[in-house]
C-alpha cells in the first residue's frame, strides 16, 4: 500500500501556488511525516491524496493505481481532520459505523467491527454518547476509530495532536506510534512541530513554500540536512549560521566572519568538500556541538555572554562578539552546555567548533556543500 505524488502542482484560482513540482512517496507500512511552517503546503498534500482537491498538474497514485481523477469516495483512504470533524448529531457508535454503513456492510458485521475498534482505542464505554459530551482527547480517539474501522489503504492524519494540551500530546504521540506499528498501514502525518516529526516518522519530508526540501529518515535530516532551511528547521535550539569569507592557505582553508568574532581553520580534507572557487560560504553548527574553551586555548569564536538560560541539566548560552568589533550586525552564537560549566552573563566566552560537526551551505541557494 503505497502513496505516490508525481510532479504534483496545486495552484489556486487566485494565483497562489500551494505546491510546485512535488515528487513524494510513502512506502508500504511507512509513517511519512510532512513537516514545515504554515503555508508550506503540507495540508494541501493531504487533501490532494484524499481527493478533496484536484492537482493542477501531476498524478497521484495509491497502491499502484492512478487515482487522480477519482472522487474521495472511491479512493479508500481514511482521514483524521485537525478538528476531528465528527458528525455532531450521531453517537460515537454511529460515527464509527458511518463509513461501513455507506459501503453496505451488514448490521451485525458493523456491530462487531465497531466494538473491536472501540476497544482498541479505549472508548468502548463512550459509544452511546454524542460528540458534544466528549473531551478533546476522547473526540480525537473517536475520529481515529472512524478511520481505523475501515481498514483503508492509507491513513491521512492532519495535525492530530495540535488541539490537545501538552500533557495529552506526549501520551497520545506514543499511542499513535504504537497504533501504527500494530496496524501496519501506510500513513501520511502532517505536523508543524519538528520534534513530533522526528520522534514519530519513519521518514520525514520537510516542505517549504510548496516545495520539498528534503525527505529522509530523521537522523539523516539531523546530521546531513540537504538545505539550510532543513538545517534551521530541524533541531532545537536551531542551528547557528554564519556567513564567512574564504581564504585558501597552503594547508587548508581559513574562514573569517569578523563581525561574528569567528575564525575557523579547516584542514585539507574538509577544504576539499567546499568548492575551491568559492569566495563565501554559510557555516552551520548546532548548539549542542559547540565546545566551550578556556581563555588560553585556540578558539573559533570569541565574544561576551549576553544571556544564560538554565534548564536544569544543561544551560543555553547566548553570546555575541564584543561591541568594539567593526561590523554593525553581530550575530549571536547559541550553545548548549552542561550546567556545571558555570557560565555567567557578561563574562568573556570562547568556543571551538569541531570540524566534523560543521555544516556548509551555499549562500545563494542554501544547498548543502559536501
Amino acid at each position: 500500500m503505497t502513496v505516490r505524488l508525481e510532479g504534483v502542482a496545486k495552484i489556486f484560482p487566485d494565483g497562489t501556488a500551494a505546491l510546485s513540482d512535488l515528487d513524494l512517496d510513502a512506502g508500504e507500512e511507512e509513517l511519512l511525516v510532512l513537516v514545515g511552517p504554515s503555508g508550506s503546503g503540507k495540508s494541501t498534500v493531504l487533501r490532494l491524496v484524499a481527493g478533496l482537491d484536484s492537482p493542477t498538474r501531476g498524478r497521484i497514485h495509491i497502491d499502484g493505481r492512478d487515482v487522480t481523477e477519482l472522487e474521495p469516495q472511491a479512493r479508500d483512504v481514511a482521514m483524521v481532520f485537525q478538528s476531528y470533524a465528527l458528525y455532531p448529531h450521531k453517537t460515537v457508535a454511529e460515527n464509527i459505523a458511518f463509513p461501513l454503513r455507506v459501503r453496505g456492510i451488514t448490521t451485525e458485521e458493523i456491530g462487531t467491527k465497531v466494538e473491536h475498534v472501540a476497544r482498541l482505542l479505549d472508548i468502548a464505554d463512550l459509544v452511546h454518547r454524542k460528540p458534544a459530551q466528549l473531551s478533546g482527547g476522547q473526540r480525537q480517539r473517536v475520529a481515529l476509530a472512524r478511520a481505523v474501522v475501515r481498514e483503508p489503504k492509507a491513513f491521512l492524519l492532519d495535525e492530530p495532536l495540535s488541539n490537545l494540551d501538552p500533557a495529552m500530546r506526549q501520551h497520545t504521540r506514543r499511542e499513535l506510534a504504537h497504533l501504527h506499528r500494530q496496524l501496519g498501514v501506510t500513513t501520511l502525518y502532517v505536523t508543524h512541530d519538528q520534534e513530533e516529526a522526528m520522534t514519530l516518522g519513519d521518514r520525514v519530508a520537510v516542505l517549504r513554500n510548496g516545495r520539498l526540501e528534503q525527505a529522509a529518515p530523521p537522523m539523516e535530516l539531523y546530521h546531513r540536512p540537504a538545505t539550510r532551511f532543513v538545517a534551521s528547521f530541524i533541531g532545537s535550539p536551531p542551528m547557528n549560521f554564519f556567513e564567512c569569507r574564504l581564504t585558501r592557505t597552503s594547508d587548508g582553508t581559513e574562514l573569517h566572519a569578523p563581525g561574528a568574532g569567528l575564525h575557523v581553520s579547516l584542514g585539507p580534507s574538509t577544504s576539499r568538500e567546499i568548492d575551491a572557487a568559492r569566495s563565501s560560504v554559510i557555516v552551520g553548527i548546532r548548539p549542542y556541538d559547540v565546545e566551550h574553551v578556556t581563555a588560553g586555548e585556540p578558539a573559533a569564536f570569541r565574544g561576551v555572554v549576553e544571556l544564560v538560560e538554565p534548564r536544569g541539566n544543561d544551560m543555553v548560552v547566548s553570546a555575541r562578539p564584543a561591541a568594539h568589533e567593526a561590523s554593525p550586525d553581530r550575530p549571536t552564537l547559541v550553545a548548549v552546555l552542561p550546567a556545571e560549566a558555570g557560565i555567567t552573563e557578561g563574562e568573556a566566552f570562547a568556543a571551538r567548533f569541531p570540524s566534523d560537526r560543521l555544516h556548509f551551505f551555499d549562500p545563494a541557494s542554501g544547498a548543502r556543500l559536501g
Binding site: 478533496l52 469516495q73 483512504v77 482521514m79 478538528s83 470533524a85 458528525y87 458511518f98 463509513p99 459501503r103
Partner: protein, 274 residues
Amino acid sequence: MSPSRIRAAGAVATVLLLAAFALPLYWMVVGSLTEEALLFARPQLVPADPTADHYVALFRTREFLTPIVNSLIVAGTTTVFCVAFGSLCAYAVARLRFPGKSLVLALVLAVSMFPQVAIVSPLYLVLRELGLIDTYAGLVLPYLTFAMPLTIWLLVGFFRQLPPDIEEAALVDGAGRLRVLVDVIAPISLPGIATTAILTFLYAWNEFLFALAFTVGPDHQTVPVAIALLRGRYQIPWGEILAAAVVASVPVALLVLFLQKRIVSGLTAGAVKG
C-alpha cells in the same frame, strides 16, 4: 440631566412606545368582543359587556372556517416546497464551485425587488391558460417563487457557516453527495431550516395581492382576501371584521410567541450580514 435621569427617561419612553405598539392589537381584540351598536360609542378600555356574537356569526353565517383551511393548505404547501427547493439551491451556491454564482444570487435578489403588481397580469393569463385560476396550485406556484429569494439568502448564509470539514469527512468516508446532504447536512441544518420555514409560512399566510387576483370565489380564497371582502348588506360589519382579524392573527401570534428567537435571528441574519 444626569446619566441616570436620562436612562430613566429613556426607559419610560421605551415602555410608552411599546404600549403604543400594543394598543391597536388590544383594541382589535376589545372591538371583536363588543356589541356592534357600541363599537363607535365612547371607547372603553375594557368592554363592559363582552359578547361572542361576532365570532359565532363569523363561523356560522360566513363560514370563515373555509378560508382558514385554504390558507393553511396554501401556506403549508408553499413552505414545504419552498424549503425543499430553496435548500437544494442554497447548498449548491454555498458549497459547490461553478461559474456565474454571483449572477445567480443577483437574479434571486432581483426577484425579491419586483413589484408584484408588475407580473400580476401575465401570471393571470398564464394561470388561466393552465386552468389554475381559483385553485391551490395557482397560489402555491407564485408564492413559491416570491418566498424563494429569502429562503435561499438565509440558507446560503447558514450553510456557509457550517464547518466544511464535516462534509469532507463524510465524502472521504465514502458517502456520495446526495447521501451527505440527507444524512449529514440536513440533520445539522434544522435550526436554519426551521427559521426559513417560519418566515416562509408567515409570508404565504399574509399574502394578499396574488390571492386577490387569482381566486374567484370563497372556495379557494385565503384569509386575507376573505377578510377584505367581508361586506355587510347595509354597512361595514366591523364587529365581524375585527373578529376575523383576531382569528387571522391567532396562528401568527402563536408562532411569534413560541418562536420569536428564531424569527429574529432569521430576520437579522439575512440583513445584518448583507
